[in-house]
């Protein structure tokens, strides 16, 4: 595991379960009959494709019914190169991966930016299109397919029989599973897990979500192509049949059955459906006294029933059988991360000049101007609907201003994307808590430090990122400690009370090592003592040179804390100044308490 020790020094239950599974895998080709070895081969091949879908659909929230097309590209590429051109299967593998990668890059670049349902519809469409291409191209042998695909040879060892293929297939599957697990347990993996529901948040901490989605999409396609290559050389024959649209639907069903809570869900889903299909194929035609794909009825009913009960698949149910070992607190001995150079106190930091934003006919922010100096706490207050959160979104690049200028340390940022503004040292919290609920507090906070690491997906798959990862997690742990949640480091963020979730949001923003911290109602849902300690923390941070822009409704909290106030009403600036002056301003009193007549 990743440096976190397992409690008590005993071997943990999940490791026992994993060990038993590995023992079974090793023993299987020696004890099982040819029929079952072949079945295991099909399970491994399906698990590879399903693994890609678990990452793509379950984790990143992108759905594809077209993975069979990538399997087909992988299988046909190697089949043509090894039969017609008599080249080495390894060349076939390389060519298949390159071709699939390019195809996925092209299709992905077009579809992953679009809203959720376009991708699955287009995956069905290209799956059908490619199926008919496979079936009609002369060079691919039309509907008859390609015969006589040679076996793979590794250093003189020919992977001829089903039992030999078993070794190759399951080594590939296990390596891919471990690679996927490594990926999820890393800087990139945290960002991937935020893609599904938390794209805006991820962008606000510097993640290029569109690019990351594309990476996951291509990765899933490459796993499918690998499965296709293994399939072609195991079966020694390729025809269009296995790449029809139903195959793509069934891969997705496997991912749903297994669930996305763990990469092992791919093995569970592939095993359950592959065995069920085999069994139903014997049973059902006898029942209906004619042949046909009757198992689709059972699959369909099974899926609807499963989704009515749970949307997490079977893996959590399997996981419940095995008690989970808790990791110990993260060791804080890691070297501290380099910090950003901070501007001198009193330097101009943020300048808003005539910022304007409209939603249809509603003017949310109307030609608003204010300035903020480095090292101050500036409060932005106003009645509900005054435009405070919109102003926040304009400064952080989540929304784009219709007019006006916003300068950060003298540089115009109003046209920049959220992740570019984050890079300049602006971090924020969200009014509606924006955490990845299923992920532990520590990892949620570590997303904040995303821009302070640099290792990408490939490094994390190969575990070259461990030193950096230790430092990032130690930094995250330090910030969690700082907001007073050291005891909840490993709890799922979604399980905390709302007030504490807001503190997690602050810790995440702090992990970004910001120059300017924007807090959107940080005290909402906190108890009196918690508010006091939050105020103390914010003062400490200011004294360390951090500048804070604060939206808050709790006037006691704001008045005792901020250096200056900007009061907004109906998108406009009503007043500006020191708290005690603003409190006496008649316009402010009227806005808050209503007119006197």
């Amino acid at each position: 595991m990743t440096g976190g020790r397992v409690s008590g020094g005993r071997v943990s239950a999940p490791r026992v379960a994993l060990g038993l599974f590995l023992v079974f895998l090793v023993a299987a080709p020696f004890v099982l009959s040819e029929f079952y070895v072949t079945l295991m081969n099909y399970i491994g091949l399906a698990a590879l494709v399903t693994l890609g879908l678990v990452l793509l659909t379950g984790v990143a929230g992108l759905m594809s019914f077209g993975q069979q097309a990538f399997v087909g590209i992988g299988a046909y590429t190697t089949a043509v190169l090894t039969t017609t051109y008599a080249l080495s299967p390894w060349l076939g593998l390389a060519a298949g991966l390159v071709l699939t990668g390019l195809a996925a890059l092209g299709i992905g670049a077009i579809t992953v930016r679009l809203s959720g349902h376009y991708l699955p519809i287009s995956t069905i469409a290209w799956g059908i299109a490619l199926y008919f291409v496979f079936g009609n191209l002369e060079i691919l042998g039309r509907y008859n397919g390609l015969q006589g695909v040679p076996p793979v040879t590794i250093a003189g060892w020919t992977v001829g029989s089903g039992r030999n293929s078993y070794v190759l297939i399951w080594i590939a599957t296990l390596v891919s599973l471990i690679a996927a697990r490594n990926l999820l347990d890393s800087r990139s993996g945290r960002a991937v897990r935020a893609l599904r529901f938390r794209g805006t948040m991820a962008e606000s901490f510097g993640v290029d979500t569109a690019r990351l989605k594309l990476v996951v999409f291509v990765y899933a396609a490459l796993l499918a192509a690998l499965s296709g290559w293994l399939y072609a050389h195991f079966l020694r024959f390729v025809s269009p049949g296995p790449f029809n649209v139903n195959a793509g639907i069934e891969y997705l069903f496997m991912a749903v059955v297994g669930g996305a809570s763990s990469v092992w869900g791919a093995v569970v889903g592939a095993s359950v459906l592959t065995m069920l299909k085999e069994w139903l194929k014997d049973l059902l035609p006898a029942l209906f006294e004619q042949s046909g794909n009757y198992e689709v009825i059972v699959f369909g009913v099974l899926m609807v029933a499963l989704l009515h009960r749970t949307r997490e698949g079977l893996m959590p149910a399997f996981a419940r059988l095995v008690p989970v070992a808790r990791r110990e607190a993260w060791p804080a001995e890691a070297a501290p991360l380099a910090r950003r150079e901070r501007p001198q106190p009193g330097e101009p930091l943020l300048e808003v000049r005539g910022a304007h934003r409209q939603f249809g006919g509603l003017v949310a922010v109307s030609h608003l101007s204010f300035e903020m100096k480095s090292g101050e706490i500036l409060g932005l207050i106003g009645p509900n609907g005054a435009g405070k959160s919109t102003m926040f979104n304009l400064v952080t690049g989540v929304l784009r201003a219709d007019g006006g200028e916003i300068l950060f340390r003298g540089e115009r940022i109003e046209r920049r994307a959220a992740r570019e503004i984050a890079r300049r040292g602006v971090a924020r919290t969200f009014q509606h808590v924006n955490l990845v609920g299923a992920m532990p507090v520590l990892e949620n906070v570590a997303i904040g430090a995303h821009l302070r690491g640099r290792h990408g997906t490939i490094a994390s798959v190969l575990r070259l990122d461990r030193a950096e990862e230790t430092v990032l997690r130690a930094e995250a742990a330090r910030q969690v400690e700082r907001v007073g949640l050291g005891g909840q480091l490993h709890d799922a963020a979604g399980s905390l009370p709302l007030g504490q979730q807001r503190l997690v949001e602050i810790a995440r923003a702090l992990a970004a090592d910001p120059v300017l911290l924007l807090l959107d109602e940080p005290a909402a849902g906190l108890r009196y003592r918690e508010k006091q300690s939050l105020a103390r923390l914010l003062r400490e941070l200011r004294d360390e040179g951090l500048s804070i822009l604060l939206v808050e409704h709790d006037m006691d909290f704001v008045m005792g804390l901020v250096d200056r106030l900007v009061v907004m009403d109906f998108g406009e600036k009503l007043a500006e100044g020191k708290p005690q002056d603003v409190q006496r301003n008649p316009a402010v009193i009227e806005a808050y308490l209503g007119g006197l007549e």
């Binding site: 670049a109 077009i110 376009y118 059908i128 008919f132 938390r198 997705l252 009515h308």
Partner: protein
Amino acid sequence: MTADIVAWLAQDGITNGAIYALLALALLLVFAVTRVIFVPQGEFIAYAALSLALMESGRVPGTVYILLGGGALAAAMEIARAVREHALSRLPRILALYVLLPVVIAAIVWWAVPRKLDQWLQILLVLAMVVPLGPIMYRIAYQPLASASVLVLFIVSMAVHYVLMGLSLVFFGGEGLRSRPFSDAHFKVGMLDVSAQSLWVVFASMVLIGALWLLFERSIYGKALRATAVNRIGARLVGIPANLMGQLSFLLASFIGAVSGILISPITTIYYDTGFIIGLKGFIGAILGGMASYPLAAAGALAVGLLESFSSFWASAYKESIVFTLIIPVLAWLSLRSRHVEEEDE
């Protein structure tokens, strides 16, 4: 390519395009009201077409068993809910709607089949068998998941498609069937030979589109559907029942699907799994129209029909590939226009 081939291909394309346009409208309607990507729409086409062909040959179509079984299952779910909510007064209505009505329809079909009624009466019976499947399907598969994400609902659609396609094979068998044309007449328009069946298809589609427009503009149910499509929560707050709107949109979709099947079955041989591909072409049409506007979706569907017809002349084997690849450039264009990050709640 001579002028009469062009004219003939255009006629073929417009005929199919009219069907795709109907389907595109239904798909758009269901998506707007329920957020369901309604893949099983295609099954209604196959069910209606095959039921009609079987009745014409004097056999009782298996659709009656699907109707009876689906009704019984939906009734069981409704009764379980009524018991849970201590609302037993709902029982008579549940039984009447989900048990008695299917039984009556089935009885009429059994009575009518050996008597070889007039074609129009048979068509009415087919509609009576197939159309109730829409609301029943909504009740069984979708209503319990009404609040789920678009992606979960999409998976449910695929699962329902699987079930219906499998049942289609069980009850209709693997053979392709064709029903009798409404009329064998042909007209000479200049040098073009127009079949009356094509005219029927185009005419019926236009009438149906007009009727839908009237429904949405003039009736309270149509307005409620539109309100639900614009803002689901807002519609519920003003007292529009979400489940009823879901069932109503599925009823319209199954009706449109069944009519499409009846219209198309005299000109195309329909197999148990043909509906899926036809339904998807409706989807391509809807996407060409940007998945938002009804007139654009209809225009897109017509374009699909024409493209299909002309590509079957140039490259018949790649007809499907060409049609289904068409959405890639369209999606590329949509993608260039979109900038926002999509957000769904957990």
